[in-house]
């Protein structure tokens, strides 16, 4: 039984990998070589969009669990929906200039992440036990609002890239490719941290639960190396590892769907199991971040001094 599942899982992974490859090739054909910066910016819009989608679904489910007790709990839904919309717009937009509305939405999304973190910290600290494992596991998730912060940041970043008219792109005066690599690396680490916390809560009862705490940190390390300007020799490895991480995001959602079915009543009892089982929309954040990492690599390749 288990091995049969593993097999189908494996086949699906291979299939998804092939598709990703096609997608990437297709994208690069789509983006003419002469506008590498815009291409990177559009990729970032895409990455931000995937993250927003994950946030939209995740905060939707989690705040539904919290019965939208506080009206502010609608904010991340609205913001991630907007961010998703402008990301779609940005991904399709090959004009070289930043877009005022996109820019504003992204900035607001990032701000939502910061404020949300504040709310979640407050929620945890007012429970008995304060920063105890119990509250880290079951209180408002401290790391969750970071995802919308990241999606906003990636978006803001993409708009700055479009603004940039220099030979080698900079953002806020810093070399764009490297900063972006560092930012996504940090994002991957944080997200892996959150997966680690929740998988610890699940006592790593399934060996696959180790994947998100091993693969993304390695990707983060490789991105860090890229950011630090180590020569491009390991870049193929970084690229492939990021693709693996992107795949992991999809595969994770699949595993989580299986996890939901493993709860009492399975999918028929979805009103409970979707909430109490593993969070379906969480793993795709890895995909979003990995795509942003790939964009950073692209920038570094096109402009060695980026």
């Amino acid at each position: 039984m288990r091995t049969a599942i593993d097999k189908t899982m494996q086949n699906q992974l291979v299939a998804i990998a092939a598709q990703l490859d096609v997608l990437e090739k297709g994208l690069s054909q789509h983006f003419p070589r002469r506008e590498p910066t815009v291409r990177a910016a559009r990729r970032l819009n895409g990455a931000s969009g995937i993250l927003s989608m994950s946030v939209l679904a995740d905060s939707g489910i989690e705040h539904y669990r919290g019965s939208f007790e506080n009206k502010a709990m609608f904010t991340p839904l609205v913001m991630s929906a907007l961010s998703l919309a402008v990301s779609a717009h940005g991904t399709a937009d090959s004009r070289p200039d930043a877009h005022r509305i996109r820019d504003a939405v992204y900035a607001a999304a990032a701000l939502t992440g910061v404020v949300g973190t504040g709310f979640h910290v407050y929620n945890v600290l007012k429970r008995p036990g304060r920063l105890s494992w119990q509250n880290l596991f079951y209180g408002a998730p401290l790391g969750a609002p970071m995802a919308i912060l990241l999606s906003g940041l990636l978006g803001v970043y993409s708009e700055r890239l479009r603004d940039d008219r220099g030979a080698s792109p900079t953002v806020f005066g810093l070399p764009a490719g490297r900063t972006l690599a560092a930012l996504t690396g940090a994002g991957l680490l944080g997200t892996a941290g959150e997966a680690g916390l929740l998988h610890f809560r699940g006592a790593y009862h399934n060996p696959f639960m180790y994947a998100p705490v091993t693969i993304p940190p390695v990707a983060a390390g490789l991105l860090g190396a890229a950011a630090a300007g180590f020569s491009g020799r390991t870049r193929w490895l970084t690229r492939w590892w990021l693709r693996l991480t992107a795949l992991l995001g999809f595969a994770g959602a699949g595993f989580h769907a299986y996890g939901v079915s493993r709860n009492m009543g399975g999918w028929r009892n979805w009103r409970q199991t979707v909430l109490n089982g593993p969070p379906l929309p969480a793993p795709p954040s890895f995909t979003g971040l990995a795509l942003a990492g790939l964009a950073a690599l692209g920038l570094l390749e096109d402009h060695t001094d980026a």
Binding site: R127, Q134, F200, R201, G202, A203, N263, G265
Partner: protein, 547 residues
């Protein structure tokens, strides 16, 4: 043939019910009655079920019998208090003394898996000093066991049951991390935590034998709150879904609806097997060793009912202690009304605990207690209002409307052993024609002092979280232990440290009866640890040719 597990046995003809699949079966070894098996075990609960697994895995031939049915929880358990009384030992018993015990649903199970099928899953270790309470703390009796050895066996049982507990446990010597993480606390548990913080004492999530993540074919807990009426999801790690399937896989045979009426002893003073009632008639199973594991009432009753001319006072009773030193645990509670909706019916009843008063020796009485959050279901709650508070009529109805706002704390308190608290045989007979048990129980001064202390303290803890209309329930007890205590001296104990009776060397007693003292924590983890140790000891003794 009926498939009602209460009417006809399921485990027979080479197969037993698969507890993880509705209507499912697993293959099971079948032993002949006229060929002696290595071990016949009477009772398949925390003690007997665990030992059956250990002995079968050690390669012994094992037949384990239980008077109760063999359930498949997924298909047999309803979400209903009345229906689920089918899990309890409801054969007739008589209670007397100054503080007669409540039996039945309050403490005794009758099913394959024993009382663990409906227990509340609280899985605690003894405080190390309790194993030498006479020497170190000045009361009760010393155990012939060393706490360090018990610590190792506790860890094994915690692993075997995938206990879900806190990442670090605040009391006692270090213990390995619990295999599964603690469950989410419900409002009742958070209330306990707030109260403890207000009183300046520690609290933690209760280590529970119910899954917080999937395990094999068992689902994680769904927080339905029917735990003490049977877990229909298999999240609860009862003997029925843990030790028993393992025992069967290792070659043991389980016989359900098999009531043992008498242990047979030959002229040489050795046990030769058991007489048991199954499918309408009395039968006999030959065995080289007999293990009695029927819990602290049925174990002494069976030993007393098995008296012969050679053992006129019952088996294993040269000390005269069989049936004596029965110990319940005090189970008093403080209740109040919260302005918040607590809805304590959600989730396992006791998700948070404090063991503060088990480890603080600054008290004017012996022994300790823990207290836990509570989640009574409606029938139990209504009856508590009626019996402990005397409410009926309009006042009962009005009180019941506030069910969702009730918040309560309840102790598991140590009661001291007294020889006058005991199990004897009554004149009345049960449906098999066997004399029923008479259970005599009175609290000691020390028991009362402990109860008073706990009620005062818990009332303050509830006041501290602004609960209103606080009242105390002072009549309840839980758990049963003693009645065949272990010890180092045949004159003052019934069995030795290996649960082997002093008088009849191939007769063993392996359940809650062997406790010399009870401590202030729920007993079943200790019962299972002792059973694991006994299994290892029997294996070692067999290797030495010493059985």
């Amino acid at each position: 043939m009926s498939d009602d597990p209460l009417l006809s046995p399921r485990a027979k003809a080479g197969r037993a019910p698969d507890v993880f699949a509705p209507g499912g079966w697993i293959p099971m070894h079948a032993y002949r009655e006229d060929e002696a098996v290595d071990f016949v075990i009477v009772g398949t609960g925390a003690g007997g079920g665990t030992l059956a697994c250990k002995l079968a895995e050690a390669g012994f031939s094992v037949v384990a019998m239980d008077a109760g049915p063999y359930f498949r929880p997924l298909e047999d358990f309803a979400s209903d208090e009345s229906e689920q009384t089918k899990l309890y030992w409801t054969d007739d018993r008589i209670v007397d003394g100054e503080n007669p015990l409540q039996m039945g649903s309050n403490n005794s199970g009758k099913a394959v898996g024993g009382s663990t099928v409906h227990f509340a899953m609280v899985s605690l270790r003894f405080r190390p000093e309790w194993f030498r309470s006479r020497t170190l703390l000045g009361y009760g009796a010393d155990w012939p066991l060393d706490w360090r050895e018990m610590w190792r066996y506790y860890a094994k049982v915690e692993q075997a049951l995938k206990i879900a507990g806190p990442v670090t446990y605040p009391w006692g010597p270090p213990r390995p991390r619990y295999p599964y993480r603690a469950h989410e606390m419900n409002a009742a548990a958070l209330a306990l935590a707030r109260g403890c913080e207000a009183m300046g004492i520690g609290w933690t999530e209760t280590p529970l034998a119910t899954l917080s993540a999937p395990r094999g074919r068992a689902h994680p807990c769904v927080y339905r709150g029917f735990c003490t009426t049977g877990c229909s999801t298999n999240a609860k790690q009862s003997a029925l879904v843990t030790w028993i399937p393992r025992a069967i896989a290792a070659g043991a045979e389980i016989r359900d609806l098999a009531m043992v009426g008498r242990v047979e002893v030959n002229d040489a003073g050795r046990a030769t097997g058991v007489h048991y009632h199954r499918e309408g008639g009395w039968r006999f199973q030959k065995a080289r060793n007999v293990v009695v594991a029927g819990y602290a009432i049925e174990t002494p009753r069976l030993l007393l009912n098995s008296a012969t001319s050679r053992f006129p006072d019952g088996l294993a009773n040269s000390s005269g202690l069989v049936g004596k030193n029965l110990m319940a645990q005090s189970n008093q509670a403080v209740w109040g009304i919260s302005k918040d909706e607590i809805r304590s019916y959600k989730g396992p009843p006791s998700l948070a605990i404090t063991e503060h008063w088990n480890y603080d020796d600054n008290k004017d009485f012996f022994g300790g207690y823990s207290y836990m959050s509570q989640g009574p279901l409606p029938q139990l709650w209504a009856n508590t209002q009626m019996s402990a508070r005397g409410l009926w009529g309009d006042s009962l109805m009005a009180e019941m409307e506030r069910y969702n706002h009730v918040v309560g704390l309840k102790i598991v308190g140590e009661m001291l052993p007294q020889e006058s608290n005991r199990v004897t045989l009554a004149d009345a007979k049960d449906q098999y024609g066997l004399p029923i048990a008479r259970i005599t129980y009175s609290w000691s001064e020390n028991d009362r002092a402990l109860i008073d202390h706990s009620l005062r303290f818990m009332a303050r803890a509830l006041e501290a979280i602004d609960a209103r209309e606080i009242w105390t329930q002072d009549d309840d007890t839980c758990h049963l232990n003693g009645t065949a205590r272990m010890g180092g001296d045949p004159r003052t104990s019934v069995v030795d440290a290996d649960c082997r009776s002093w008088d009849i060397r191939n007769l063993w007693i392996c359940d809650g009866s062997v406790f010399p003292t009870v401590g202030g924590v729920n007993p079943s983890l200790t019962i299972q640890a002792i059973a694991c140790r006994t299994g290892d000891r029997i294996k070692a003794l067999a290797a030495l040719g010493d059985l």
